[in-house]
Symmetry: C2
Subunit: 173 residues, 2 copies
Amino acid sequence: MKPPSEKSAGRRKSRPSFEPLQPHEIELADFFVRMAGILGVPRSVAEIYALLYVSSGPLDFDHIQGRLGMSKGSVSQGLKFLRGHEMILSVKEKGARRERWQPTPSLAASLVALLRSQVLPALEQAQPGLQRVLADAQQRAAQPEVIERLTRLNRWNSRALELAPLLLPPPGA
Amino acid sequence: MKPPSEKSAGRRKSRPSFEPLQPHEIELADFFVRMAGILGVPRSVAEIYALLYVSSGPLDFDHIQGRLGMSKGSVSQGLKFLRGHEMILSVKEKGARRERWQPTPSLAASLVALLRSQVLPALEQAQPGLQRVLADAQQRAAQPEVIERLTRLNRWNSRALELAPLLLPPPGA
DNA sequence: GCCTAGGTTCAAAAATTATTGAAACATCAG
DNA sequence: CTGATGTTTCAATAATTTTTGAACCTAGGC
């Protein structure tokens, strides 16, 4: 908690104060936070996205920080995450110092990209291991049922890897 | 670390000792753990599932606890979770006291069920809120772009809710 | 009924993950 | 180059989640 008196504090520089979130904004943020939670995306990231999503124009760093009342560090990391997953775009007006952010047009595409980035690496990394596990089981002449399971798992993994690039072209294509 | 000397400790009752996981089992467990992590399923649950998945027959409580070296509490909660999501089945031989567990036949179905159980409630709960947020925006005559976004979000939500029961019939159908 | 194997619960401890904020860095106007 | 604004980094802290284990149920055999 910080001292709430910020009325006529520092006139110079006029640190602008921002409104806290409105009820309708909170509602939307809650929704995004919950959905994000399922994918293990931290609350702060979801809140930033939600704010940009309901806002009329692009917002700059300070607005985001001010309205959500979170630290600089969190805002910076949150924007980095969203940028990295191509969920937001910067709209820098020429001659302006600061960047302003808005959501990318398609939330659907954003979600797919996000999923991709989480699932694909795991699938890729697992590929050789899974094959080895199966080979191992065959060599040990394990129960047919187990071999069957492991075979199916391998097929799945391969198919997922084949399909993935179709679902959404990789970041540079 | 526990004292490794458990050779001729207590003859009566013969507390059976279990082998630690073999390399191939560890590999598979790692895979499941990583995948589960994406959905926020705890490591211990994924490990239990993985163990049942590579094992030739159904395993009982003590085997699971012993081979994974985890506490009773974790095993109990893990089985509860897996049971609740219909990812495992109990095979109780008649005349036997203890239950023995094995994975349900379709991992795919299990995954869908798991997703459903996480996503659906969120969608349902959000429905009225999202509609309110949209109405609110329309009333405030917000930017067309924002209204457009919120409209699409609502459409999505509704469609997802309609489609859900088709994807997999609800637990009792 | 009483006892015991088998399992669950849940508060406390441990592990993990997210957030903060101050210092460091970058970039641009002058 | 200099100074200020705008942003990132990251170690420390806070919050959250997971695991543990001991006390507590519960059903079945005797």
